[in-house]
């Protein structure tokens, strides 16, 4: 009833654990699957080992989180060595990031044996972009997707930023370049200040906002993308309850990533959301989750 095919991957259910959330190790990815995730996205992997920013790296808000982890990751070699010896009975989507298209291509080539698909994390500052991120530039999105598609046969998912005037132009760029799917949205630019310290809380000062507070924005991005694109859309952004999940499916998402809610509600959140979707489908007279995907677009 819940199985879907997204970006050419067959999933038992539409839920994935999002990149950067409790996905440092094979054991954690397996736990997400055991608890009900249909697929898992790894922490974002780059060229070199990176320890990330100093603490504080997170701010807890009543309706979400702001984080600036600084892309901590073991680098592609250590990641490859650890994952090449592991077997998974569910799709592993390897998130990769780079400073330009060559780095993305390099990583995709090196990691193709340990990935069932790639998700491109385009949130790195663009080397020539005056502080802009690669993912904020449709041409760069096109080029990165293009070169990655050239070096790997694995499905490619472009993760899109909401920090843009119109996310569909990023989605269309990814589609033109041959992406198998887009995932939306990455975090929103945010900050929190401690009024007694009189300083930004994060060591990086600014960070990315995730969680319930961004759900209406993420849902809009998915809705707009679903209207404009033919390729699959994976919804991300504040999905916390099964009702949120159903909203995203109705807005046109074929699969969903859960991140912040894992912290708020534990790994059990996957099972709870799957159960809720199933109950909803039965109560409303549907036989298959695919019947509701995009139903609110008409």
């Amino acid at each position: 009833m819940l199985s879907v095919e997204v970006a050419k991957l067959k999933l038992e259910n539409p839920l994935m654990i999002a990149s950067g959330v409790c996905d440092m190790t094979p054991d954690l990815l397996r736990r997400a699957h055991e608890e009900g995730a249909g697929a898992a996205v790894t922490k974002s992997i780059g060229i070199k080992p990176k320890k990330g920013y100093d603490n504080p790296t997170i701010v807890e808000l009543p309706y979400g989180l702001i984080n600036a982890m600084g892309l901590p990751n073991p680098g592609w070699e250590a990641f490859y060595e650890e994952f090449i010896n592991e077997k998974f009975d569910f799709p592993i989507i390897v998130s990769i990031f780079g400073g330009d298209e060559k780095e993305f291509a390099f990583l995709a080539e090196k990691l193709s044996d340990v990935a069932d698909a790639f998700e491109l994390n385009l949130s790195c500052p663009h080397a020539k972009g005056y502080g802009m991120e690669i993912g904020q530039n449709p041409d760069m999105v096109y080029r990165v997707v293009r070169v990655v598609k050239d070096v790997t046969d694995k499905p490619v998912i472009a993760k899109l930023t909401p920090n843009i005037d119109n996310i569909t132009k990023l989605g269309l760029a990814a589609e033109r370049a041959g992406a198998d799917a887009v995932s939306a949205i990455n975090t929103l630019k945010a900050i929190a200040i401690d009024i007694y310290a009189k300083k930004p809380i994060l060591s990086n000062k600014v960070g990315g906002y995730s969680g319930q507070g961004i759900k209406p924005i993420a849902l809009r991005a998915v809705y707009d993308l679903a209207k404009a694109l033919d390729i699959d859309i994976i919804g991300i952004g504040g999905i916390t309850t099964w009702q949120d999940a159903v909203e995203f499916l109705m807005a046109g998402a074929k699969a969903l990533q859960i991140g912040t809610a894992v912290s708020l509600r534990g790994f059990e959140v996957f099972g709870e959301i799957n159960e809720g979707i199933t109950r909803f489908l039965i109560d409303e007279g549907y036989n298959d989750v695919r019947e509701i995907i995009g139903i609110a677009l008409e």
Binding site: G20, V21, C22, D23, M24, T25, D27, L28, R30, R31, K43, P49, K50, K51, G52, D54, N55, P56, T57, I58, V59, E60, L65, N67, M69, P72, N73, P74, G75, A78, F79, E82, D194, Y196, A197, K199, I201, S203, G259, T260, V262, S263, G266
Partner: protein
Amino acid sequence: MKRVELVEVWEEASGIKAFRFNEMLNFKPGQFIMAWLPGIGEKPFSLADNDLIVVKNVGPFTSRLFELKEGDYLWIRGPYGRGFEPKGKHIALVAGGIGIPPLYALAKHYREDFEKITLIYGARSKDEFATLDVEKYVDEIVFTTDDGSLGIKGFPTDVLAERKDEFEQVYTCGPEIMMAKVLEIMDFKNVQVSAERYMKCGIGVCGSCALGKYLVCKDGPVFYGEELKETELGKFKRLPDGRITTF
């Protein structure tokens, strides 16, 4: 994030200070807080009491913390994580070095749940014991030192190995090698371990503190021995970047 004022600061042992703040946290022994010094950094500390952390000076953050005086501020969030569960009648607390604070908290706050508490507490030498007033809450204290300057020369695990049949539950916190030895001695049974891993967010987002399929910050820091059987505890840990490293 909450600003608290330090109301009492004292040197408890060589290189170890205690910081009492003006906020009584509702906590369970074994739980930790994240303490932030604006402009400096943020680190996790086990609570020794509702309003108390006991800290060893080990790096740049703690050096700055050690400069603070009564009246200065500290920013905290938490308490976080899973604490100890009182089990057994005669129990042992096996503490190594700066592993004492959560065990002190356990003795103080769950005193009434136990019939007899034996503290087995090891440090390198006699001026490194941060005992606070733990003698009020335990029935027996066995000190061990590496150099023999106090109590038995040797390790707390030597004592545990000899006396393990006396204890219905063993609670341990300290160097990972020591805790792995405790688990081995107890065959992973009737042990509660307060584990440590490199921690960033403290709330189960980043996964930095992975230990087997667990997160130390949320599933722990306190684990039952059985839960740790399949994990890398005592074998390896991960660097901040996620790479594997041995002890």
